[in-house]
Amino acid sequence: MNAREEILARLRESLEGAGPAPEVPRDYRRALEPGTDVVDLLIDRLEDYRARVHRGTGAIADALGDARRVVVPADLPAEWRTGGAEFVEDDRLPTADLDAADAVLTGCAAAVAVSGTIMLDAGPAQGRRAVSLVPDHHVIVVERERIVGHLAEALPRLHRSNPQTWISGPSATSDIELQRVEGVHGPRRLDVVISDD
């Protein structure tokens, strides 16, 4: 018997007489209280993670700060490419070029207010994963309609079979005395531009 057959046989044997699977109760919350201001909540959570938050696409240039070379997915809207930086479209850029960039500017698929989580699913304006990973500064434009209150509201919006990255603040570690330090291997700076224009 090969490993696959043997493991399956062992599992089946262990389950003999185990009876039917139990019912799964689903009475947890799937949305926040009606009337919650999800934009305010998202901002509060992001700032708690020490991400910097800006309002309106007019603030993109500010968010990019003094970055000179900014990588962008090829389908990033032209109107987001503002300010004095050079915008380099990702056309399978070599890793070294990504590493040499000062920042990356992307959009996102969804944002969950209650946990300050921004989700990328390789959809429009998001690019491939390496692009939003290697540069040391990530600026994400979150359009108002992409913001939901609760995780359960965000999952249906994701393209499930695409690679996803859920981002909640800049990279961080708590491995030394459980003291949180922002900025390790992922982008050390995270700027979020909430666009409700």
Partner: protein, 460 residues
């Protein structure tokens, strides 16, 4: 009957720095967990759902494993099955060699710790580099992890700086013990390795049956680096990690980060389904690992240990773990979850671990998937061996207690024999085995008149 735990615990208790590091760290994370779990008014409902989903997975494991395999393959992953650690290691080493590599970068993974992949790779002349900060510290120190989430929890910042200074060739000469400076040193040390690695090895927090996706939850971005940059990715996944549906993440991704690091959400979660052209590794392998899990599944009470999502909340609240640290448990899974998992994964070994608990129940109270750890501990005590001396004492006690008249006579005898100590009210030193008690506490002395005497008097 093994006495490894009490002995190792005694050694650990004699290390004041270790105890203070542990108390500091577990105390901090306990408070954070309590706060963020308390923010959710449906925390108990989430726990109940998670427990039921995991029980459902266990009941349907063969079916779900096949569904996962089918979907992962359709998405371009190669799925391998490993009966045990040796088989998983052989497969991982073979894939690494076939990819033309002699080293791999690793995402922190309990499954690869469990199968001792690093040691196996070293024996094969391959190198496996840990990239999680805490794992890096432990690897540099040639030590073993002592915690599921924070493997270097037993070191403080000063000790970590010393490890970096002595063992990390590219550590800055003016390295301070500021955690930010230490994290920066690790970033520089690993950056080139990430950007040039050909092969990465990961585990997975969840494997989604309906889509064949894997999920890795992390903080530092080392996970994203490993899962994105290399050409070849090998993920070692315990078969119990399956979830039926992608939407189940709406439950587990609320529970896991809050229970684990005490955050509303961890900085990074990666989800990938097979291979995607032009985005991340194109040579994607998944090793489904049994290594004792199918045996655990057979035990109706014990199988709930397979629900564990490795959050480590039970370690952080355990008064025993807080005082002994993880090494005393002698297994890759320490703390309360280790005390029920290790003896089941490796039957006949670790039979002292079910006793490494005062049954205080703090672990059950915080477990996000409601594993009734005290119940399983007691269950395993029933199965495990008992020493002849203990059996005799327990049997004698039971025979007396099962006969009320004999019991009353025994209590009368105890009151009579303990007369010499009654004036003082307690006994300071008893001969063995009573010395186990009086070693650290006085023993109360039976009273002159019992409750029964008082009751009889009253009745008259």
């Amino acid at each position: 009957m093994s006495t490894a735990f009490p002995k190792a615990a005694k050694v650990a208790l004699g290390m004041p720095q270790l105890r203070s590091n542990l108390a500091h760290a577990t105390g901090a994370i306990r408070a954070k967990r309590t706060d963020v779990a308390g923010e959710l008014d449906d925390w108990e409902e989430l726990r109940s759902t998670a427990a039921a989903v995991k029980a459902d997975v266990q009941h349907r494991l063969p079916e779900l494993a096949l569904e996962f395999e089918r979907n992962a393959r359709a998405a371009g992953a190669r799925v391998h099955w490993a009966r045990d650690a040796a088989e998983a290691n052989r497969i991982a080493a073979r894939i690494t060699c076939e990819a033309g590599a002699d080293e791999v970068v690793k995402v922190k993974s309990m499954a690869t710790q469990e199968i001792e992949l690093n040691e196996h790779f070293e024996a094969e002349g391959l190198a496996a580099w840990e990239t999680d900060l805490a794992e890096l510290i432990v690897q540099l120190a040639e030590d073993r992890p002592s915690h599921i989430l924070v493997p270097a929890i037993h070191y403080n910042r000063t000790e970590i700086r010393e490890i970096f200074n002595e063992r990390m060739p590219d550590a800055p000469s003016d390295l301070t013990d500021d955690p930010a400076a230490l994290a920066e040193a690790a970033r520089l040390h690993l950056r080139r390795r990430f950007l040039s690695a050909k092969v990465a090895v990961s585990g997975a927090n969840f494997a989604i049956a309906e889509s064949g996706a894997l999920v890795v939850v992390e903080s530092e971005g080392n996970g994203r680096m490993c899962l994105t940059m290399p050409e070849t990715l090998i993920s070692v996944v315990g078969i119990e990690k399956l979830l039926p549906r992608f939407d189940d993440l709406e439950v587990f991704m609320q529970l896991l980060p809050r229970s684990s690091t005490g955050e509303r959400m961890n900085p990074y979660t990666s989800v990938w389904t097979g291979a995607t052209e032009g985005d991340g590794p194109e040579d994607v392998h998944i090793i489904l690992l049994d290594n004792g899990r199918s045996g655990v599944l057979a035990d109706e009470v014990g199988r709930q240990a397979l629900s564990c999502i490795r959050c480590s909340a039970c370690l952080n609240v355990c008064p025993v773990y807080e005082r002994t640290g993880g090494h005393a448990y002698g297994h890759v899974y320490p703390g309360p979850i280790g005390a029920i998992l290790a003896p089941q994964l490796e039957p006949g070994e670790h039979d002292d671990l079910p006793y490494a608990s005062s049954l205080c129940g703090a672990c059950y109270e915080v477990c996000p998937v409601k594993i009734n750890i005290p119940e399983v501990l007691v269950h395993l005590r029933r199965q495990g061996p008992h020493g002849a001396g203990e059996r005799a004492v327990m049997g004698a006690a039971q025979r007396v207690m099962a006969r009320p008249r004999l019991w009353r006579a025994a209590l009368r005898a105890a009151r009579f024999l303990s007369r010499p100590w009654r004036g003082r009210g307690h006994v300071r030193r008893l001969p063995w085995p009573g010395s186990k008690w009086t070693g650290s506490r006085d023993m109360s002395v039976p009273p002159r008149l019992s409750f029964r005497d008082w009751w009889k008097e009253r009745e008259r």
